[in-house]
């Protein structure tokens, strides 16, 4: 850590960590509703509310992580202090306040009712304000020195795209098809566009610092990866336009472009492994290394393989709207984005705390526990999804009868989720106790 203002990242990581824990708690509550038909919370916290909170917390903690990562990364890349630490703090508290209001609102029945974008309009405007403060602060920091490294240029581009796309999710449209058309501009162009760009930049930064490989090499690969992500991802939005009332040429466009989507993610795996193999410095922070390599692998499996498995229209017509999507959702969000944030946190945390060496045992246990049980959860949901696809879609059994046949696998999913929760708890404890009882350097 070279600059004092990089410490701002710590507060963002604290919130990200706490909200991650809360997301897991709401995940357990939501999952229980699949396992037991009797729901004692049906009138207080019905499924739709607990799911809304579960998925909103996911997005919010990941965004806190991205913002913290950005505040850590940009000073080093731009070679200067953050333009305004005061604005960075204001933005943090404002975003946290909006988040708390949104969740309290959901419990009270205040919702805008589009999945992931349930925030009432006034809160969405608040989120736009937060984004503007953030982008302004980051841009002004970069303008102080105007050192346009590829990493920070790509990062800024991704963050601007992230903010711009959100605007397409604010307006009420009378036509459900049009509403969903542009809803995907937020959801898809985030996860298969803007977020991938941000991830690419942050990962490039971490690998550069961790392995000491040539900056020119890292930056060249960053361009190629991000270029291919956007080339396949932007038109790849077509895989969401198969069945929502849009013209049938999307079956071709979506099928072809999204079949290519795993390619750049595979490149990321190869790139990461090569950087590690050709490292020029000894890697003492093995936790950051494990999360980085793990992220590349799980990103590829979750987003690449599990995404490809149901992206072609010939398959998707049977699997669309089943638990197959839920399996992919859990795997991809964890592998690509949760793990990216954990990589950045484990990279930055020891430096923020001024630790040259630290005990990595609990962190390692958290890494293996979370990864193992996430794979178990995904496999269970995948089996449930295949059962649903065959019974409901192929055989024509009605929805609820089919759900009865999936129960065993919901139970496996839920028990595995408890395993994951234990791993998450290990991480949270590790986050707050790291470096304690050791000599700070």
């Amino acid at each position: 850590m070279k600059y004092e203002s990089q410490k701002i990242a710590y507060k963002y990581f604290v919130l990200a960590t706490l909200l991650f824990g809360l997301q897991v708690v709401f995940g357990l509550i939501t999952g229980a509703k699949y396992v037991w038909d009797f729901d004692p919370l049906i009138n207080i916290l019905p499924f739709n509310t607990s799911r809304a909170i579960h998925i909103n917390l996911l997005v919010v903690w990941l965004l806190f992580g991205f913002m913290g990562g950005t505040y850590y990364l940009v000073p080093e890349e731009a070679d200067t202090e953050i333009y305004s630490p005061w604005l960075a703090n204001l933005q943090l508290y404002l975003f946290a306040a909006i988040g708390v209001t949104a969740i309290a609102g959901y419990i009270a029945g205040w919702s805008w009712g589009m999945p992931f974008l349930e925030q009432p309009t006034i809160l969405k405007i608040g989120i736009v304000v937060v984004a503007l403060i953030f982008l302004f602060n980051i841009f002004m920091t970069m303008m102080k020195t105007k050192k346009w490294t590829v990493i920070q240029g790509v990062l800024l581009g991704g963050l601007v795209m992230l903010a711009v796309m959100f605007l397409f999710g604010i307006f009420f449209m009378k036509n459900l098809t049009t509403q969903y058309y542009f809803w995907w501009w937020v959801i898809h162009l985030w996860v298969e566009g803007a977020w991938e760009i941000v991830t690419g930049a942050i990962m490039a930064f971490v690998l550069l610092k961790l392995t000491g490989v040539d900056r020119a090499l890292v930056e060249k690969w960053l361009y190629i990866e991000v270029g291919l992500v956007l080339f396949t991802g932007i038109a790849g939005i077509g895989h969401h336009y198969y069945w929502i009332g849009t013209p049938n040429y999307w079956l071709w466009v979506g099928g072809i472009f999204s079949a290519l989507e795993p390619v750049p993610i595979l490149f990321m795996v190869i790139d990461t492994l090569r950087d590690v193999k050709e490292r020029k410095v000894e890697i003492t922070n093995r936790l950051a290394l494990y999360w980085a390599v793990g992220c590349a692998v799980m990103h590829f499996l979750g987003a690449g393989v599990w995404g490809f498995a149901h992206t072609l229209p010939q398959i998707n017509q049977w699997t669309h709207g089943t638990q197959v999507t839920a399996a992919h959702g859990h795997f991809a969000f964890f592998g690509a984005y949760a793990m990216l944030n954990l990589t950045m946190i484990y990279f930055a945390l020891p430096q923020i705390k001024g630790l040259k060496v630290f005990n990595q045992r609990l962190g390692m246990k958290a890494f293996w526990t979370m990864n193992f049980f996430m794979i178990m959860m995904v496999l269970a949901l995948s089996v449930a999804g295949v059962i649903q696809t065959y019974f409901q879609r192929v055989l024509g059994m009605d929805y609820l009868t089919t759900q009865g046949f999936m129960k065993l696998w919901f139970a496996v999913f839920w028990v595995s989720a408890w395993g994951f929760a234990i791993g998450a708890l290990m991480y949270i404890v590790n986050f707050f106790t790291i470096g304690k009882k050791q000599v700070a350097v």
């Binding site: 459900l176 058309y181 190629i224």
Partner: protein, 225 residues
Amino acid sequence: MTKAQAKAIFVWGTVLSAVILLALTYNSLSQIPQRTHADRLDAQVATGKWVWQKHNCNDCHTILGIGGYYAPDLTKVMSYRDADWMRRFLNDPGAVWPASRKMPNLHLKDQEITDLIAFLSWVNGIDTNNWPPKPMAATASAGTVEKPGEAVYRAQGCSACHSIGGVGGHVGPDLTKVGSRRDREWIEEQLKDPKSHNPNSIMPSFAKLPEKDREDLVDYLSGLR
């Protein structure tokens, strides 16, 4: 490969894909009104869409295949449920569908229910490129023709309480062989006035069912032996 070439991949890859998306968006937006029968999208449908959003229905149900996966997809719900059934169900989901996984009572006003049904009826007409597909097994076993009464049985949601051949709920009696236990007149009377045979029956009356539908249903049930 040089860094300049890598940058060119980045710039041109992005531009090309974005141009494709924008051009097809322009075309799609011109086709959506026709494909969704936008001429039938009146103020009531729009109000119904807001009822749908306000109560966050989409985080349990999917629609157009998107949403929570906890409750049935409602894209084509008005193809297999009539407005009367929907109204009874939305008024008190627990009473109409007492079996297994439950929907909470949203305490909707009559007007909200009317608007919501208008919205779902409009959604039912969207051209979804034939999604959801017709179940393959149903097409493959096309030799067995469905009796008209079987369709009424499904449309009225009888299987929420009763089961046939092991499929359905267990709140009411099993109907697998009901035809060998009860005659036509008994079944017809039961449908019209469930309390006539058992004053404590919790079964709702189907006296309002059209004459033809009730006869078909009685034919079907009395044939189950």
